[in-house]
Amino acid sequence: MSDSPNAVKPIPNRRFAIQRILLVAFVLLILLSAVVGGLTLLFVFYVPTPFVFAYVAYLALKIRRGFVVQLYRNQALGIAAIAAYLTAQAGISFLLPSPANSSYAETLAWALTNLAGGVPFFLWIDATARVARKSDPYERDSLNWSKLRYVVIVVAIVSAALGLVIAPTVVASFGSYVPSYSLLANIVGNVPFAAILLAGLAILSLGAIRSKDITLRRHIFWLAVFFFTFIITFAVTVIYTLLVPSASGGQYTTFEFAADVLLYYLAAYCLYRSARSLAPHTNRL
């Protein structure tokens, strides 16, 4: 499909250029800390991550207040929900650094943060798919999302519910965290979650191409980078675990910790940029 005759490249923004330079410097600093200071120094970087996500959630809610139309309010709420979910996940990871030998309540908290991720992501994907449809000149229903969304809702709810049933059952049976729970929870929780993300990526990529709305495209671009950050970190961690046998022994290695810290900061930056690109807004009148 040819691009719009009026399509323009976004004007480079100096403020964001400085942010990007700072981000790269920060990433290098984290990597250097991992090499020089190991886990202890990395921990210092890890502590602020829940607060960074909390700020992104706040920013999205702040922009949401400017919208009148429910659909756009839902889109902003979706970003806020994703940021809130990551705040909880980073916070729980901070409070409960390892699931090994966890109590019932701790395992439940782990299960909640691992399995409830589909809900905020679905909220955002659903609202953004409908925004993309609205801004498409032909109002096309990309990949029949108006019907497909019900299947995705069922998948998200069933996977989260199953995971929440499995987690306490396993803990009740074994008295603590066991590797089989980890495997089962990963399959039950992460496979449908990944399916939701991939369906969302496909629908929103198509929606962005069809809509030709530069604001929407920018918003989706940053969310796509956010998703890829997760996928790449996950892939690198899996490869590392396979290559270094001692890494799968339940110990949290410096490499895994550094990957997590990096992931959180990069994800927070992408979420921040996507929240800012929900709608054009100005600080000058």
Partner: protein
């Protein structure tokens, strides 16, 4: 000068008593800020006053009426639809000649009546056609509209196009109402401004607004 009520009492007061007669008015702003409310209330006021009302939309009449109800606008009377499907005439964003012909036909057949035309298709036209083509098309269309006792209101999505395109197209209109999301410290506030309106001096001040079911509140914005 005869004025056409906007359907919003407080906006009417700002403009004297409404939009000027034989005028084309642009409402621009970010998506989701509530520009469509001005379309719905303008049509609703026209239907209540017994004017002939034409709604040109890329959506279907059912979808637009659902939105009307969402904003608390009365749907007991409906306008004539020129829409993607389900309307009296079929709208195709790629066929500017047919659109021009159909609107002119409608104007001609309702000559002698007060006419209100409302449209949400401007952004679609701009993404599917070169700016020059749309500019020429609108210039001709607006000249035709002004030959009749008609007022036309169009909305444009601000973040969807290059600001230069929005500015160029804005020059064609007799009146421009701007909506903005203003980031002020810890808040993002929706504001509106009457950037220009035929018969009125340029307005520099911004107004706070809030939409509630069936009404719009406008207050002078004070930092």
């Amino acid at each position: 000068m005869r004025l056409a009520s906007t359907g919003v009492d407080e906006l009417d007061r700002l403009l004297g008593a409404g939009y000027p007669d034989r005028a084309v008015v642009l409402v621009s702003g970010p998506a989701g800020i509530g520009k469509e409310a001005l379309r719905y209330w303008f049509i609703s006021a026209g239907l209540a006053a017994g004017d002939f009302c034409l709604y040109v939309t890329k959506s279907t009449p059912a979808e637009v009426l659902q939105d009307f109800r969402g904003f608390g606008v009365d749907t007991s009377k409906v306008p004539t639809w020129y829409s993607r499907e389900g309307g009296e005439r079929k709208f195709d964003p790629n066929d500017l000649a047919a659109m021009s012909f159909n609107i002119k036909e409608t104007l001609r057949s309702n000559e002698g009546r007060r006419i209100r035309i409302v449209t949400d298709v401007l952004s679609s036209l701009l993404v599917l056609n070169p700016t020059e083509t749309v500019y020429r098309f609108l210039s001709q269309l607006f000249a035709d509209v002004k030959q009749y006792d008609a007022v036309m209101l169009a909305t444009l999505e601000e973040g969807m196009h290059d600001p230069k395109v929005v500015s160029t197209i804005g020059e064609l209109f007799d009146g421009v109402v701007e909506f903005k999301l203003f980031e002020e410290g810890l808040n993002v506030t929706p504001l509106l401004r009457v950037a220009k309106m035929r018969g009125l001096p340029p307005e520099l001040g911004y107004y706070n607004f809030a939409l509630a079911k069936g009404r719009m509140e406008i207050r002078t914005y004070v930092r």
